[in-house]
Subunit: 193 residues, 2 copies
DNA sequence: CTAGCTTCTGGACAGGTGTCCAGTTTGAGG
DNA sequence: CCTCAAACTGGACACCTGTCCAGAAGCTAG
């Protein structure tokens, strides 16, 4: 009986996991060439050397596929050091900057992932929940500020991510922006009685 | 020569403006019945008593149509009273709560508008720019806090809107959440020396 | 080696999308 | 009342999407 791995749909055999990996890699390449609009599941399948029907076995749509790309990168992101140097604000900003920069090397990819993540589909929804949880863990692990401050910063993070995904902000500016925002939200809590 | 009105595409005659109005109204009804996924431009056209080709004359896609619905409501929203009672935080929260609640009466509609607003299409992009400008005006008009605080709150607002659009937050909770967030971000500036 | 499962294939399918255009209706100006 | 341009119609079009399934190919246990 074949081994299994964590998977986009359920449990996968090694062979299936490899197919899925090739598909997600091909998706990254396709999006780099054709951007979000130009990417099709059939195109990704072709590039991955796989029949379209096979791709659809694992991914219900291109949004599902791209969301999986983001999720895999986030999953593989090492946890931030627990309480390293710096103020609570800096630690929080750093913890989320890493997430914001996950796909920042390729602008087309980051835009595509953002769009995909926002899709209203069951599979995307499931991935989004996982991602949201991970983000929440990262930020609450990075600082012990008040829940209201944490929530405010988390909201601002998603706002920034969406703005960047829509092209209103550059991904490269996100770390700086998050740092400024964190300093606006967090340190006051300590300074004021 | 017929009068013209501000329009989704360009300048419209009275007759065209009426057609567009009927289409946006029909869209609201359709989305209430069939939700975002079930809405089709052809369905909206039928309900509005108009040929599909006519609908496509004014709206390039269902996202464009739904974004227009949101934009029209925002356009018709009265400006917040300039500096009424309350702290800067309360004023800011109030100014943006009104925006968040624009489509909150119908959950399906609010979700649909959120999804549509995030689409990567030229027409939606144009509307988004207008809406972003309007939001920015509202918040900067409501308080004279520092630019960093304003930006932080604006980001949090969009974050909250997206979370609500994705169903992670209830629209009804947004005003309270925005108030809490505003109080976390703003008043400190004044209270601390 | 082979039986029997798992995985992949390739092509057909129904449905939806946005575009186009020749032809009809509408209504304002003369 | 008539003219004529603006606005709408309806149906055909090419394309894309996700689903399905019968059969081929690949692996693994016996």
């Amino acid at each position: 009986m074949p081994r299994t791995t964590e998977a986009p749909r359920a449990r996968l055999s090694d062979r299936q996991a490899e197919t899925v990996r090739r598909l997600t890699e091909a998706a990254v390449e396709e999006v780099a060439e054709h951007r979000y609009e130009g990417l099709t599941v059939r195109g990704v399948a072709k590039r991955a050397g796989v029949a379209p029907a096979t791709a659809y076995t694992y991914f219900a749509s291109k949004n599902h596929l791209l969301a999986e790309v983001f999720w895999r990168r986030l999953r593989d992101l090492p946890e931030p050091d627990p309480l390293p140097g710096g103020s609570p604000a800096d630690r929080a900003a750093e913890a989320l900057s890493a997430v914001a920069l996950l796909v920042a090397d390729d602008p087309a990819l980051s835009a595509a992932c953002t769009t995909a993540m926002l899709a209203d589909e069951p599979n995307v929804l499931r991935l989004r929940a996982r991602i949201g949880l991970r983000v929440h863990e990262r930020i609450s692990g990075a600082t012990d500020a008040s829940p209201a401050a944490l929530q405010a910063f988390e909201l601002a993070f998603y706002g920034a991510l969406v703005q960047a995904g829509m092209g209103h902000l550059s991904y490269r500016d996100l770390p700086g922006l998050l740092a400024t925002t964190a300093r606006t939200i967090f340190p006051r809590t300590e300074e004021c009685p």
